[in-house]
Structure formats: C-alpha cells, structure tokens
Amino acid sequence: MCGIAGYTGRRKARDILLNSLRRLEYRGYDSCGIAITNPGMFVFKDSVRVSDLAELLPQLPGRTGIGHTRWATHGVPNQKNAHPHTDCSGHIAVVHNGIILNYQDIKEELIREGHLLTSETDSEVIAHLVEKYYQNDFLGAVTRAIKDIKGSYALVVMMEGKHELVIARQESPLVIGIGDRENFIASDVPALLDYTSRVIYLDDGDTGIVTPDEIRIFHNENPVQREVLQTIWSIEQAQKGGYEHFLLKEIHEQPKVLRDTISEYMVSAEPAFGLFDPIRKPSIILLACGSSYHAALIGKYIWENLLGLPVRIDLASEFNYLAKIPSADYGFCLTQSGETQDTLKAMKRLKQAGVKVIAITNTVASTASKIADLTLYTFAGPEISVAATKTFTCQLLALYWIAANSPLLDTLKSQNMMMLIRQLPGFLQEVLNYKERIMEIADLIGSYENIFYIGRGINYPVAMEGALKLKEVAYIHSEGYAAGEIKHGPLALVGAKTPVFALVANDNTRDAMLTSIKEIKSRGAPVLAISSDSRDLEDIVDAVITIPSVDAIFSPFLNTLVVQLVAYYAARKRGCPIDFPRNLAKSVTVE
C-alpha cells in the first residue's frame, strides 16, 4: 500500500510531485522518491519522509515526472528498495502500488536473460519487463509487460525524454486529474485537489497514455471513454484548519459530519431499506477489517436485537480462508477507503456465491462500490489521520439508520429511534465541550504501558475500538475484553501497573459490570469508568468520566468519542507522531 503520483504539463514537475506526495503520505511513509525527465532521467529516492526528500531534491526544471511514497511489503525500507525503479539502461522509470505475486519467477527469467536487478522489491521487475518488450511503442511495451504479471497494480511508467506517462490499473486505485494543458495522476483524490476538481477513475484492466494535452484510455487494447467526474472534496477539508493534528480535527468534526450525513440520508439512503423484507426475513453476513469490524460488531448487535435478524459477522481477512461460503441473502461489507484488499476479495467471493453485496464506504467510485450491487455512502469527508475516527462514527450511523428505517422495525420504535439519531450531534458536542476531564484521565493513562478496556453487550466492541485506538496512536499495549471474560485469564495480568477502563452502560449489563469492576479493584488495579450515571460507581472506581444520559443503545457513539479523545491526549502526552503512526498506513490495499 503506497501512494503514487505523476505529472506532465507546463509547470515544474518537481514542486507538483512533492506536494502530491505530501498529501499521499498517509498511504505510507517509510520511503519516497521522484523521477523527472529533464530531458535526461533523474531519480532521487531514499528511506526518508517527503519533507526531507524536498531538501535533497535539486531544482530541476523538467516538466514530466513520477513520484512514490512507500509502505514496505517486499524488501525493507531503504534507498535501494524505494521507488521509482529503473530498468538496466536507466531510461525507463516505474512507480507501482500493489503486489506482484509471480515476481520471483519473472525475476529469475529476467536475470537469465541478462537483466541486472538491484532491489528486493517486486516492483522493479516491471521496469525491466517494459525494457524487454520496448520496440518504439511505449504503450505497447507496458501493455505487453503487464500480461506477464499476476497480482495487483497501479502503475505509472515514464521514459527518458518523452513528455508522456503510461498508466495501468488492476485492483489498486488510480485516478487521473484533468488540468489545462497539463494532467495529473495519483492513487487518491486528495493529492489532486490543489490542482483540479475534474477526475477520471480507471477501471480494473485499463491502460492509458497521458500527455499534457491528451488522455487516451484502453481496455483490452480497445480505446474506451471513461466518465469525467467532479470531486466533492475540497482542499479545505484535506487540511488541518487550526488543529495541531488531523486526528483531533477529525474527532471534533464528528457532530458536523453526523449532521451532514443525516441530511444526505434524508434523500439518498432509501434503496437499502427495501432489502429487509418483513415476510421473508433475510439472513445477513457482515464483513469488515480493523475499526470497521468494530462498527460492524455494534451493527450486528443492533440488527439482531432490534430487527430479530440472524446476522453472521466475520473479519474479512479471515473469511477469505473459509472453505465453504456460508449461505446468506445479503453481505454488508464495511470499508472506509473502499480499497481494503481483504474486504474486496471477500466481496468478490460473496458475489460469486450468489450473495447480494452491499458496500458501506466513505469513498465515491471506490473499488468496493464498483464490486457491490448496492453502495451506501458515509459522508464523513476525507479522513487523513491513519486512525479512523469520524468514518467509524459515520459507519455506525449508517448501520443504525438502516435499522431505524427498516420495515422490520415497528413504526413507533422507528420514529423514536430517528428522534434519538437526530440528537446525536448535540450529545457529541456536549462531550467535546467537557473534554478537560477526559484530558486529565488521558494524562494518567499515558503513564502506563498496559491497559485493559472492558465492556459488555453493545459496548464490548467499543472496548475493542478503545484498545485499538490506544495501540495505534499512543503505542500503549491495550486489550479490549468482554468484561465477563476477564476472569478467564486476563485477571492474572491485572495489577497496580495495569489499569482497567470500564465502559458502564445504563442497561441490563450494568450490575454485571459493577461486579466485574469489584473483582478487578480487589486485585489492586486502578479502575477508570465511563458512564452516564456515576451513582454506585464513584465509591468503587478511581475516576469517572461522566457522559450525557442517552438511551443505552446509543451509548456506543458517546463512549467511542471518549475513547478516541483518551487515545489522542495520551498519545500527545507521550509525544507520539499522532497522524502517522509507525508501520501503519491508512488504507490497507495489500493482503
């Protein structure tokens, strides 16, 4: 999972590529590089951040170039393995995102044929294949080269002295930005927003040649027209707007994005409701990875308890190893980016098995929405910080919205649920208004190395999400556990140096939670609690974060906001690189 960029036009490619790479850094940042034809081929790359590359890079006037920011899959992050990769002659340069499954075979054959490969990456073979097949037809050589490749790729290839870029896409995202006597290429829209709002999304199997004045796209070697779309994201949304980190900005945006999503769903969410036939209750599979999986777990709870539907849930990354696909009517697949490779693979398997697939994603025209029979978008806007926050909340809203509007829910309950959904932005704002208390607790949390989050029922997935946030942004080892399971093992780890964070909802789990807390407390562990009702709690725990009182089925929204803020402030106290945690990337486009 990497970010790629390309430019050909009338301006200095250097500055445009650097800027695009900066905006793509969330996709990977263990190394980066740029190649520019000036008219000779110049390649600069290293295992550095984009800001450091900018200092290394001379002021080349060349107007065509490619760039790459890497998240290592094959080969450690170092200068040799950084992209762009070149062929033996150094005349052809390639940037690649994806994975080439048969690269070992290709590499051996290329070496036999006398090619000199210098890196440990799978990507380098592409440059040499293009060299091998090149006979005065640049596009033809790339088209021939990708026939040898098995796997996924988004490619941009350039050749010394030529003001054109050849591109290809298979299962990895690639967009073209259309300018005035200049054109742009990137993995993702945010990299283009500074320059243009008109974009073309490529389909799997597309190849193309891009010059400053012309874009020609081919599918199976036949010319095709792809629709030019207007982006709905503005560059403003892609910037920090006063905040120190994207993560805090995105946490604070949650009341607004929920409000935006509500007004969008007032007009656009209806197609999803018809799926829930009250006569023949459908069976459902939910699939997702990471934070999306936690949102799906909450969705399962809601759909099972309110709609009385059988709901199976799997991690998409594990589902792909099931020998037999479980029978179901619908598969709801959650992916923020719409490009999560494991989820896409699971979607394809479901489709092949005849299951109708519904994608819930934040990215318009993503691969997930192309595969799915039906897409329900979340309207969170671009999320830059690697840790998911507002997209998680919007996924939850989508799942609750479906439940509230499903014909399976009686009208009175439906009305009541809609009323409660509309109050969520106000409740979230209230939690944000009282964040000083959360900061105090987070400072305390930041001084520990091991933490348990516990919850029961609908808040058990929130405990898992809280632990995940603390791991990924604050680098604190944390585990989310069902409170009832603590005594089956983890209690052995609990003690004065391992605090426990308890999510205490005001529902039928409350008494059992209090019992769990007492068990833990008697082992000498500091216990912190999040609850709307501090009665009976203040005496037995060390500190309580009080949240507004809501119907317990909506408590995950408020508890999630608290655990997000705890992770942010704990990370800030520990001096972590909050928006770009080590070893992680925003959208996981590899298996």
């Binding site: 509500i262 007032m266 704002q429 944000l432």
Partner: protein, 391 residues
C-alpha cells in the same frame, strides 16, 4: 490592501449562556455565525488573506471555518492565550502581517459595503459611524476628518460618532504596543506623538450583539436580505409566502404555513400543520413537530420542539430537546444581566442541550443555562444556571 486581521478571541460574557461554550464571533444569526459575515464581506472586496486571532473556545472556530476555502478566503490562525484586550490580540499577529492590513472585530455583523468604505481611503484610518446611544461604545472626537481622540464608554459623550473597531493600519502600529492593551489607547498615544488617523464614516450595516436578546434584532434585520430558495421536499398543501429559504434534505410536511422572511437549514423535518412566522431562522437537523407555532425566533442545530408548542421572541441554542406543549410567550419584562436591569420584550433564552419535558411553561424573560433539565409541567421563570435540574 490584501490582508485582514480578525479579532475573534473574545468571550462576550454578557451573552451567556450562549457564550459559555463558544466565542461571541460564533453566535448564529440567520443560520450563520457572525464571523462568517465578516469573512464573506472581506472576500467580496478581494481581501482573501486572513489572519484569525482566536482564543476563548477556539475549537468552535476551527470546526466551523477550517482553512477558510469554503468562504473564499485563506485563513491562518494565531492563538491569543489570555484575552487581555484588542491591542494585545492584534500584537499576536506581529511578524505575520503585510505592510498594510485591515483590522476587524470578528463579532460585529457587517456587509461588503461596510468594508468598501474604509478601503476607499489610504491606510492609517478608522471606520466610524453615527449611533443614537453612543455611550456604550468608544466615542470619537474629530478635528476635520482626523481623529482627535477616542474615549471609551463615556458617561457624557462629546459626539454621537462611535468607533466601529474596523481600522486600516500599517506595520508602524506594532511599535506602539508596549504598555497599552487596547487599540483605542494605542491610537490615542500615537496621536499624541504626532501620528494622524483619518476618520471614515460609514452608513452601511454594522450590528453588535451585547445581550442575548440582541440576537433577535440582528436576526430580523438580516433575514430581510436573504432571498428565498427551495431545495428540500415540500409536501402538498404547504403555503410559503414571502422570502423563505429551505435547505437540502429538509422536509416540510403537509399543511404547514410559512411566512417569510424565514430561513430553514438542511435535514430538518417541519410539520405537518406547523406555522413558522417572521422573522425566524431554523438551523440544520431541527425537528418541529405538528401544530407548533414559532414567531420571531432563532432555533439552532439539532433542536427538537414537540407538538402543539408556541414559541415567540426566543433563542433556542444547539441540541435542546423540548417536549410537546411548550409555551414561551413574549411580554415586556425586567431581566437582570451582569447586575444591570433591562426592560425587554422577549420569550425564552435557552442554552445548549437543555432537556425539557412536556407541558412546560416558560415565563417571559427566562434565561436558562446550558444542559438544564426541566421536568414535565413545570412553570419556569427568571435566571436558571447551567446544568440545573428543575423537578
């Protein structure tokens, strides 16, 4: 002139409860915070490079304004950690400004014409205006078209010309910030040392909100200037008269009667059989249940108002949830704010996130704080502090 420094760090204590969780510049008038009017006025005059001085509850400004692109400007934020005065706030921008720049308060509602007046003259000038009741402002004494002095809140004003707080300066101003914390004091000192500031009088819009009920006056004044537009779903039997603006995703249910000027935001559900009368603004994600009448009021985001309610001359802040048959009637009444007594004709001033049961009657002039809970069938009056529980 390409740049402006906007001072938006201030709290506005007398506007509580509405400024407990947001700065004064973020008070909503006709569906937009005051600072948005300032930014749009600047953009309209080609001033797009904005330095925004923030402080009190600055996250509210960040969350709304972002980097300003949405409003046609580019914003750079500078934080004033302690709100010591307008001069001190401006001092925070030292080193960040061009040679020439405008300075404006972020909490006074203006239009593009207001700024055009000061842009017509060279820098080192002060925008002034006539005011019937000048003594609550800085009163300006003139010598020809130059400022002789500015006197803050004089008991016996020498003129009815007041300082709007809108200036055009050169960087010279930063050399005089050593001892004085407010811009008028700095100007007085500079004038004594021989500097000249030109006075420019404006007759364009410049509206200040000092007390909670001022929100209603500003709202009414601005609503008249907003043209009608309909983006939502309007069911049969709905009557819309006058200037009515309806946002996207909003549904106006059957038989509702809306008499402009009225602004309704995005994602709202109004009615059926609801009556919205002038001059009312309703923000986003608001529900107004059947058989409710609302007149001359400001309803903020995420508010729910139950059926059969009657609300007039009232301000209801974000996230309030009000049961059915709530009455907030307006009458001339005495209200105490900051130890001062005022005779005003208002209904209720309700802070953020209040939970109000059914059948509650608010006496005229109630000012309820944020996050109050009021049980059903209570009769409330006077000042109710934040987070009160009325049972």
């Amino acid at each position: 002139m390409k740049q402006a420094v906007i001072l938006a760090a201030g709290e506005g204590r007398r506007l509580r409860p509405f400024t407990t969780n947001k700065p004064k510049a973020m008070i909503y008038i006709a569906g937009k915070p005051i600072i948005q009017y300032v930014l749009e006025s600047l953009a309209n005059n080609g001033i797009r490079d904005i330095i925004l001085i923030v402080g009190y509850r600055r996250e509210q400004v960040f969350d709304y304004i972002g980097d300003g692109k949405q409003f046609g400007v580019q914003v750079q934020y500078i934080t004033q950690t302690r709100q010591l005065g307008s001069g001190h706030a401006l001092g925070c921008a030292k080193g960040a400004t061009d040679d020439e720049f405008l300075v404006l308060p972020g909490d006074k509602l203006i239009t593009p014409e207001t700024i055009a007046d000061i842009l017509a003259v060279s820098s080192m000038s002060v925008l002034i205006r006539r005011e019937e009741n000048p003594s609550r402002y800085g009163v300006v004494t003139l010598e020809g078209n130059r400022i002789a002095r500015i006197t803050e809140k004089p008991a016996h004003p020498e003129s009815n010309l007041i300082n709007t707080g809108i200036y055009s300066f050169t960087r010279e101003i930063f050399n005089f910030m050593n001892s004085k914390l407010d811009i008028p004091d700095i100007l007085n000192e500079m004038i004594e040392k021989g500097f000249a500031f030109r006075a420019v009088e404006t007759e364009a819009t410049w509206l200040d909100v000092v007390y909670p009920w001022d929100i209603l006056n500003l709202n009414a004044a601005i609503l008249h200037e907003i043209p009608g537009s309909q983006n939502g779903t309007i069911e049969t039997g709905v009557t819309l008269k006058g200037q009515v603006s309806i946002g996207k995703g909003t549904i106006i249910h059957a038989n509702s009667y809306i008499l402009g000027p009225v602004v309704i935001g995005n994602g709202c559900v109004i009615g059926p059989d609801t009556c919205i009368l002038p001059a009312t603004s309703i923000a986003n994600n608001v529900v107004i249940a059947p058989f409710t009448e609302i007149r001359n009021s400001v309803i903020c985001d995420d508010v729910h108002i139950g059926s059969g309610s009657g609300i007039e001359d009232s301000v209801i802040d974000k996230g309030c949830h009000i049961g059915g048959h709530f009455y907030a009637c307006s009458e001339e009444t005495e209200v105490k704010v900051d130890e001062e007594h005022h005779m005003v004709k208002i209904g209720v001033m309700l802070g953020e996130g209040c939970r109000i049961g059914s059948g509650v009657v608010a006496q005229p002039g109630v000012i309820a704080g944020n996050y109050c809970q009021i049980k059903s069938f209570k009769n409330i009056n006077g000042i109710i502090p934040d987070k009160s529980l009325v049972v």
